[in-house]
């Protein structure tokens, strides 16, 4: 008995480290992509379910780990061998520790099944806004059939309206995940998957691909802009306009319906100053002449490629390169210089453009609001 407390003392580091790890793990916020901060009905119901299960897990954890520690400390032999009764078992105990977990599992299973049947069925909301999301290596395409809009990596949704997302893949399996909008759903070639939710707060929410999809899987990000109905309508109106400066090369777009009249931001009659006009013309020429049109589309021009993101309103987007870079002229220039340096394996080739062309292209693309 020289060291009566030795086992306990030697166990102290583990208590310390568990406590410390637990404490430290919480820090580092503000976690804009956290599933623990639900911002939609879908995310909230998953979060409620998780919290219920977590509650039971904590109880079981405390009881069982507690029993284990008590057993170890209470029955460690102090002075050599203690008399041990050779018990071989106890049927009543066995039955009870079979039934107790079974009971807890029932308490977990009931809300689980209820939630499954709530979230795994198609939405019944007739007013739902349909959005088609297409996963591609390594960016996202979003289509709004209701408005005829195509955009990339940035999805705008009105708060409080059911969003019905149809998921398809153009190449390999991806997974669509905005943690604060709800659980993920795989995006599978040859299948159409579905996901729906109703955002309950305004804000910008990051998301990203959650199924390993090749080289730059980590860089396949996206953003959701959840906004008021008015802001959303304004955005729609903007997106429905043909790109800036294309009005004279293309027939006027169809009449706008969605209350766009009141704030037409860029009238097409030529109030553009000569400088901007020159940039647009030069950029347009460069764009058309550099092979960009093979993959990209700009509404109203001859650029009608479908392999890369639609660039009609690229200047209006918050980020470029699938959510990894802020949409600044410098980043855009870097991207044009060598896409693969920013996104390894990117399908966009290095075009070996001279700096002048890059400058005009950047100016042109950034003007496409």
């Amino acid at each position: 008995m020289r060291h009566p407390w030795r086992p306990l003392k030697s166990a102290l580091p583990i208590f310390a480290i568990v406590a410390l790890t637990g404490l430290l793990s919480g820090c580092g916020g503000p976690f804009p992509q956290s599933a623990l901060r639900p911002a939609s009905d879908f995310a909230t119901s998953l979060d409620d379910l998780f919290r219920g299960i977590f509650f039971w897990a904590v109880i079981v954890f405390v009881l069982v780990e507690g029993a284990l520690l008590v057993a170890v400390f209470r029955f460690r032999d102090r002075e050599g061998k203690r008399d041990v009764k050779h018990v071989h078992g106890n049927t009543i105990l066995e039955i009870s520790w079979t039934l107790a977990p079974a009971l807890i599992l029932v308490l977990i299973a009931v809300p689980t099944i209820r939630t499954i049947w709530e979230v795994d069925r198609p939405t019944t909301d007739p007013d739902a806004l349909l959005i088609e999301a297409v996963g591609r290596q390594w960016w996202w395409e979003f289509r709004y059939p209701e408005f005829g809009i195509v955009t990339a990596n940035e999805i705008h949704v009105p708060v409080g309206r059911t969003i019905d997302i149809r998921l398809t893949s153009a190449d390999v399996i991806h997974s669509f995940w905005f943690p604060r909008a709800g659980g993920k759903r795989d995006v599978i070639p040859g299948h159409e998957n579905q996901l729906w939710f109703k955002m309950d707060s305004v804000g910008v929410f990051p998301g990203q691909c959650a199924e390993f999809c090749g080289m730059s899987h980590a860089l396949m990000k996206m953003e959701m802009v959840s906004e008021s109905a008015e802001d959303f309508e304004a955005w729609v109106a903007l997106q429905q306009q043909p790109a800036l400066g294309t009005g004279d090369t293309a027939p006027p777009a169809e009449p706008q319906e969605v209350g766009a009249g009141e704030e037409m931001p860029e009238p097409r009659a030529d109030p553009l100053d000569a400088e901007l006009r020159a940039v647009l013309d030069a950029g347009n020429q460069a764009f058309l002449g550099s092979g960009c049109i093979a993959c990209h589309r700009i509404e109203g021009t001859v650029a009608a490629g479908v392999l890369g993101p639609d660039l009609t309103h690229v200047g209006s987007r918050r980020k470029i390169a699938a959510g990894i870079l802020d949409n600044t002229p410098e980043n855009m220039a870097n991207w044009l210089r060598d896409p693969s340096a920013l996104k390894p394996g990117s399908l966009m080739p290095t075009l070996n453009l001279d700096e002048d062309t890059i400058r005009t292209l950047v100016a042109y693309l950034e003007s496409l609001k």
Partner: protein
């Protein structure tokens, strides 16, 4: 190791065991002795454990800071793919196989396995297959589509080159090894038990080996077929996984997980068996509720075949599928809980000797509970939509496979090292190893629960600043480095103890099972006289064994002769694989020729000369 050596081992146990491992390299290549084969399994498996660990450290170093450029994504994807593949197929499974090999014949009172040469074949197929798979690093890069290799990322369109071919053929080869070994152990355990050892008197480790062997023979064919489909797609241009031609990429996921989930129990059950041996020995008390522990193991294995789609809750199986697979998955928690309760009840009222094997066993239970509880969280299909493919799952599998299986395997190593080598491992270093490993393990993996819930997807080579992932990733990386260091402490313990360790004697722990009745290391024939068993704990019961199993007066048993054919056959298989990767028919045919010759050579070579 043949009859001619009989002359010098009449002196008794010490004289005999000197000869157990003697002989040059050739004697190891041609050996059919289950003990030598077990040791070779252990050495190669530990080597690949270090390789897989190194890959993990590189992964963690890359993730230590946001937007790090230390490792490019191409290499990173190879590293995480090979880390998973290596740890599952080249480290944990063969480490378990090492224990199957060394311990099962001893525990059932047999002189070897039922098919000693088949056993050597399993070993060499594993060794050649493992080096074949890793040789891909030298030829155009290692596999990089994940250890789960989801179609259609693995198609030639999205993964040109030979990386995936290495993976497909490597896994096929390793499957041959596993199935051959499992068949061998099934027959061994059914048929070579000592008189009196009924199934319900078998040691728990032998029981779990038995159950695991059935999982192996039933799970591997599913991935074999999946891999054949993939190979056909890649080599001949079929469209099994090509959506454009009607193929369904989800078929791969189903076939993979019909294998993959039982595979998890293939990794886990041997560990549960080890714990069920260590805890009674160090509690000086028989296992509480033996039949319940046995049946719960069988139940876990059986249920393991009915839960595969819980890896696919996000693919859109529909509410019925998700409900069914949620329910079956939750059921598994019950037998798992039964095991844990019985272990605690075994310690309860016992007289615990706090030796290193027990430390690791208790550490195992503590960590496994955490892994089990996060497992229950995944079993809820709806809640899992947030967790799946996030770092939460990474944390879960490491609590089960590292906190669980690796701790259990270390418990087994500390427990049986004296039996295998005749030397004790140092307790002092062992406990340092334990504490450092336990702390570092939690530091590495506990924060990953939070990372996952805060939205960090797994299998990503980097993460952007501003998502709040920085601190926890750094913590995890620091933990992993310490974890790596703790493994070095263990290595030092082994090297130190092999030279200077205390002599173990036949039974250093006062164990109850048959392996402790003979010398350490055991003579090459194990039991000079066949033991007769009358109870579950033969060495603890009154009267013990009827006979002196080491009786020097008894005639020395004849043992099978060494054979090179198993090694040649294994080599032939790998040559076929090399030819297939290189798409060179003559090499394939040459390999097939070697295989045919080796089969006939083997079949017509007498087992004993």
């Amino acid at each position: 190791m043949s009859v001619t050596e009989a002359s010098h081992d009449t002196a008794g146990m010490t004289a005999v065991h000197e000869g157990t491992y003697s002989g040059g390299l050739w004697s190891w290549v041609t050996t059919v002795d289950h003990k030598r084969i077990g040791i070779m399994y252990a050495v190669f498996a530990f080597f690949f454990f270090l390789v897989g660990g190194l890959e993990a450290l590189l992964i963690r170093i890359q993730l230590g800071s946001p937007e790090s450029t230390l490792i490019d994504p191409d290499l990173y994807n190879q590293l995480f793919t090979m880390h998973g593949t290596t740890m599952v197929f080249l480290a944990v499974m063969p480490l378990s196989a090492a224990f199957f090999n060394f311990m099962v014949p001893l525990q059932i009172g047999a002189r070897d396995v039922a098919f000693p040469r088949l056993n050597a074949f399993s070993l060499w197929v594993f060794v050649f297959g493992a080096f074949f798979l890793n040789s891909s690093f030298l030829f155009g890069g290692a596999p990089d589509a994940g250890w789960f290799g989801y179609a259609n990322l693995t198609s030639t369109q999205y993964s040109p080159g030979v990386r995936i071919d290495f993976w497909v053929l490597g896994l096929q080869i390793l499957g041959v090894s596993s199935i051959a070994a499992a068949l061998n152990f099934i027959v061994t355990i059914i048929n070579l038990r000592a008189p009196g050892m009924s199934l319900m008197r078998m040691p728990l480790f032998t029981w779990m080996t038995f159950v695991t062997s059935f999982l192996l023979i039933l799970a591997f064919p599913a991935i074999t077929v999946g891999l054949v489909l993939l190979m056909f797609d890649r080599t001949f241009g079929t469209a099994f996984f090509n959506p454009a031609a009607g193929g369904d990429v989800l078929l791969w996921q189903h076939l993979f997980w019909i294998f993959g989930h039982p595979e998890v129990y293939i990794l886990l059950l041997p560990g549960l068996g080890i714990i069920s041996e260590v805890i009674p020995t160090f509690s000086r008390k028989p296992l509480f509720g033996y039949p319940f522990v046995v049946y719960s193991g069988i139940l876990i294995a059986f249920l393991g075949f009915g839960v595969w789609a819980h890896h696919m809750f996000a693919v859109g199986l529909g509410p019925i599928g998700n409900t069914v697979f949620s329910a079956t998955t939750m059921l598994i928690a019950i037998p798992t809980g039964v095991k844990i309760f019985n272990w605690i009840a075994t310690m309860w009222g016992g007289s615990l000797r706090l030796k290193t094997p027990l430390y690791f066993a208790v550490g195992f239970i503590a960590m496994f509970i955490i892994g089990g509880l996060s497992g229950v969280m995944h079993s809820s299909a709806a809640a899992d939509l947030q967790q799946t493919d996030s770092y939460f799952v990474v944390a879960h599998i490491h609590y089960v496979l590292f906190g669980g299986v690796i701790f259990a395997l270390f418990s087994g190593i500390y427990y049986w090292f004296p039996k295998i080598t005749g030397k004790m491992l140092s307790e002092r270093i062992g406990k340092a190893h334990f504490w450092l490993m336990l702390i570092a393990f939690n530091l590495t993996f506990f924060p990953q629960h939070y990372l996952g819930m805060h939205g960090m997807p797994r299998r990503t080579f980097t993460y952007q600043e501003g998502l709040g992932f920085e601190a926890m990733n750094l913590m995890s990386t620091i933990g992993s480095l310490v974890l790596g260091f703790s493994i070095l402490i263990f290595l030092w313990n082994v090297l130190h103890s092999l030279r200077k360790g205390e002599s173990a004697g036949p039974d250093p722990w006062g164990g109850a099972t048959l392996e402790w009745a003979i010398a350490s290391p055991p003579p090459h024939y194990n039991f000079r006289v066949e033991p007769a068993v009358h109870s579950r704990d033969p060495l603890w019961s009154e009267g013990g064994l009827d006979v002196d199993v080491n009786d020097p007066a008894a005639p020395e048993p004849h043992m099978p002769s060494p054979s090179l054919w198993p090694c040649i056959l294994a080599f032939g298989l790998v040559v076929v694989a090399i030819g297939a990767v290189a798409k060179t028919l003559p090499v394939v045919l040459a390999g097939a020729g070697v295989v045919v010759v080796a089969i006939y050579g083997w079949a017509f070579q007498p087992l004993e000369r």
